[in-house]
């Protein structure tokens, strides 16, 4: 494996409330790799992302990621569970925000923003405010915003959990084609086995209370992945394997 872009070494995280979120978590993500974090709620998946993003500090252990190397600004992007768009700004200005904070003028950023809006099917909505967008459109805008800086690392925290199944599958496909065109390391948190298998090269299974790594499963299906992959026997195999891992992760702790 080439040098990891993200690595966690024996990370423990205990919140000031006394909750132990993570226990001795170690994992690495290679540059350009698509990794899903799968686990029941309360297993610390989101905490792992926040640590990687530099939004939390580990209690013990070591986190190495672009956000922790101070010279790297805007090398990490985060798509939250909610779209977290600024309601007073239109789609264009929301996508501009990361570049704007880095001192890039609207005019200089425009070609990049317009290209992304085109890829995400948002061109006609460039001047719409978030309140006028559907849930799927809002999430597309959030993804465009995350990609606008060409980050090395894209962190996604159950971004499609609130969307309907059809919108979710379309966004999965669009996310993959965007990633395929410009590979960046993706850490994708989900509690859907099917979503994790469809999207990733590797799935890391986590258990709850305290959060810890239980299993890591590689998926050798080539990209681009056709919708047919969802109905293939290989897909079903991997899903079964992961479901068993999840089951093991949950046993011993009441759901």
């Amino acid at each position: 494996m080439p040098d990891a872009v993200i690595s966690l070494t024996a990370v423990d995280k205990t919140f000031s409330s006394g909750t132990r979120a993570l226990q001795s978590v170690s994992l690495t993500v290679a540059p350009g790799e698509f990794v899903s974090l799968l686990g029941p709620s309360g297993c610390g998946k989101s905490t792992v992302l926040r640590l990687v993003a530099g939004l939390e500090t580990p209690t013990t252990g070591r986190v190495d990621a672009p956000a922790w190397r101070t010279s790297n600004r805007a090398r990490t992007a985060f798509v939250f569970q909610e779209a977290t768009l600024l309601p007073w700004a239109d789609v264009f200005d929301n996508v501009w925000l990361p570049l704007r904070l880095a001192g890039v003028s609207r005019q200089a950023a425009a070609p990049r923003i317009e290209a992304l809006l085109g890829q995400m099917g948002l061109t006609d909505f460039a001047h719409a405010r978030p309140a006028a967008l559907s849930g799927g459109m809002k999430m597309r805008t959030a993804i465009a915003r995350a990609r606008v800086t060409d980050p090395d690392v894209l962190l996604m925290d159950e971004p499609f959990a609130a969307l309907d199944e059809i919108t979710r599958q379309r966004l999965n496909a669009d996310l993959l084609s965007g990633w395929h065109a410009a590979p960046m390391a993706v850490m994708f948190v989900t509690h859907s086995v099917f979503e994790a298998v469809f999207l990733s090269q590797r799935v890391i299974v986590m258990g709850a209370r305290p959060g810890r790594v239980i299993d890591s499963v590689s998926i050798d299906e080539p990209y681009p992945r056709a919708p047919g992959f969802r109905t293939s026997a290989r897909y079903a195999d991997v899903c079964r394997r992961l479901s068993a891992s999840l089951e093991a992760a949950m046993s011993g702790s009441p759901a």
Partner: protein, 263 residues
């Protein structure tokens, strides 16, 4: 415009017109003396006859109202920013602001008039005390209201404090500030009139409250009504002005001002 909509729009005006006509008829048919209850037509005549002096007083009241409101906005926003930056300072000084707010203006006005030599300055101060608190408390809440996700986003991209203030905190606080402004606009007119009532007709320049007091001493009831009508119009105009301002500032994005039909 459908017939129903037309009726909806005309209804308030029709009700008001009906009220005025009924009042006029009542006074004429029951032969009520004008010092007890003047007819609307007489009030209008009086308004016209004393237009010069009333306009001068009206202008003075407006100056106090808006002067105090501007000071309330400046003071309220400044203090709110300080409070938002520092919890200890908020803890130390918010009780004082609350004391100022809960003390009725009528009760402190005589004291202020003793300590402050210029009547105009005293009136401004009284009105300011009445008007600044809604702006302060709303803006403090607004500056703290930024969504946790938005805060994370700005931290992730290492926004400078100035970027955070300009691009996140100020837009988030705007709807709260505007709500405070709407309340304070009304309060500053009430404050200005109340303070002048207490101050009495002292000083060279006097406002509408003094006109009302004067007219009351002389039992010039129509003139009292004329001054009152001007105050009512001023109050409604202030309300309308800030309502418009709110719509212009928040209309495109904030739920409070968006049309219901938005998808």
């Amino acid at each position: 415009m459908t017939g129903r909509k037309m009726i909806d729009r005309l209804l308030p005006g029709a009700a008001l017109a009906g009220f005025v006509v009924g009042w006029e008829l009542l006074v004429r048919l029951a032969d009520i003396p004008h010092y007890a209850l003047p007819a609307p037509s007489l009030v209008a005549q009086t308004l016209w006859a004393h237009a010069g002096s009333l306009a001068g007083s009206w202008w003075f009241t407006l100056k106090v109202t808006f002067g105090a409101l501007i000071l309330a906005v400046a003071g309220g926003v400044l203090l709110a920013s300080v409070f938002a930056l520092s919890r200890p300072l908020e803890r130390a000084f918010l009780p004082i602001a609350v004391v100022l707010q809960v003390t009725p203006v009528v009760a402190v006005a005589p004291l202020i008039l003793i300590y402050v030599e210029s009547t105009t300055a005293a009136l401004l101060l009284c009105t300011w005390v009445a008007a600044f608190f809604p702006i302060l408390s709303n803006t403090v809440i607004g500056l703290r209201a930024a969504d946790a996700g938005h805060r994370d986003l700005f931290r992730l991209y290492r926004a400078t404090p100035w970027q955070r203030l300009r691009l996140l905190l100020v837009p988030t606080a705007l709807p709260y500030f505007v709500a405070g402004l709407k309340i304070s606009g009304g309060l500053s007119l009430i404050g200005a009139v109340t303070a002048e009532m207490v101050a009495g007709a002292a000083g060279r320049e006097t406002g509408l409250a003094s006109r009302i007091l004067e007219a009351s001493f002389r039992t010039e009831t129509p003139k009292m009504f004329a001054a009152l009508v001007l105050l009512v119009f001023t109050g409604v105009a202030i309300f309308w002005l800030f309502d418009r301002l709110a719509r212009a500032l928040l209309g495109p994005w904030h739920a409070s001002e968006m049309p219901r039909s938005a998808p």
